[in-house]
Symmetry: C2
Subunit: 208 residues, 2 copies
Amino acid sequence: MVYETKAVVRRRTLRDALIAAAERAIEKEGLRGMKARELAHTVGCAVGAIYNVFTDLDDLIFAVNALTLEQLEKTLTVAGGDTADPHADAIKALVHLGLAYTDYATANTRRWRVLFDHRLPDGKQVPTWYTANLARLFVYIEEPLRKLAPALSPARRALLARSLFSAVHGIVLVGLEEKLQHLPLPVLREQVTVMVEAMAKGLAQDSK
Amino acid sequence: MVYETKAVVRRRTLRDALIAAAERAIEKEGLRGMKARELAHTVGCAVGAIYNVFTDLDDLIFAVNALTLEQLEKTLTVAGGDTADPHADAIKALVHLGLAYTDYATANTRRWRVLFDHRLPDGKQVPTWYTANLARLFVYIEEPLRKLAPALSPARRALLARSLFSAVHGIVLVGLEEKLQHLPLPVLREQVTVMVEAMAKGLAQDSK
DNA sequence: GGAAATTTTGAACGTTGTTCAAGACTATGG
DNA sequence: CCATAGTCTTGAACAACGTTCAAAATTTCC
């Protein structure tokens, strides 16, 4: 049987529709706005049907997060190095990445928040594919970092890439935090630029 | 009437007991573990009694967060500058602050997470006193920062202090994230040290 | 001491996510 | 093309949650 059976098609259609509905719900009201009954209503199925396609709502959230990560990664195109000055190029590339991250988070705050906000009930394990996908965010940083500090061992470079990502993530996170004064986008972008440049220069200085 | 009436005493006693119960619940199972009926049972009151003392569970969470912030601030004692080299002193002080933050977050992960994880339902405002308390975390950084880059205007210094805090916060947050590989404390401390030093050196370099 | 005011109580309400027996549908063999 | 075995879908029902509120208990005040 090469062709898909009706049931399989229906299943995937429902799956996609539910994901789309969840995306819209999250974008409009955040994780709180994603409710089983509401999703079922908007896609026109019974509440129980959700659980034929996803084991959990948590499972559905992970599916949305996977798409969010895809979206996010698409915006993280590395700026081509001019190769005139590899050092300056690397710094430029890092700033570019940081600003792209800032822009995505600002434009898609609720979706982006769910990537990290969502907490599983005690005992439940995060899917390994999700961990791997998230960790891929660090990889984008490794290449410029290699240019910036070539002497670094791969392990240390990976660790530093993670820390660089985390630092920018923190700046954006706190910058967009409602519990504090919301920073206007231009100010936030400037802070990211200044901090990434500082980190890059400081790290390069270290490894000399 | 100088002396407190019985009702007022009871009220405050109940308030404190509920806060204590909430603290224990959060420490054991996070925000999810803090349930109205369970709190009422552990302090020996009716569920409804909670709502005589707090308007919401959110209100109770803010009360716990206030205590958490107090605890946290107590650990952020600034290391005395040796005044031999103000530049090096400033960097040391910043690293010290970062490590203190790291240590508190590691030792009290659940409590600490609630400071930032807790999200209000749409429309509800964060109490201004809470915003002010949180923002006080940035202030600790301003003094070393002044030594590091004296030319900075107060406004820019405040902004940079916020960004420095945010960067460290991000590193710790991602470092302790279950959705990624948990970094062992020594590794995390080292990353914080390296990154704070890099940021400090980079910023100092800029302002020369 | 007794009336008025206040606080405490816990059953009840509205919303959650999730389940599961019953009914509807689909796939397959004759 | 039909009957039947298997599968999927349904939505009422369940448990657990935060929150409310009329009644009961307590405290306050003269």
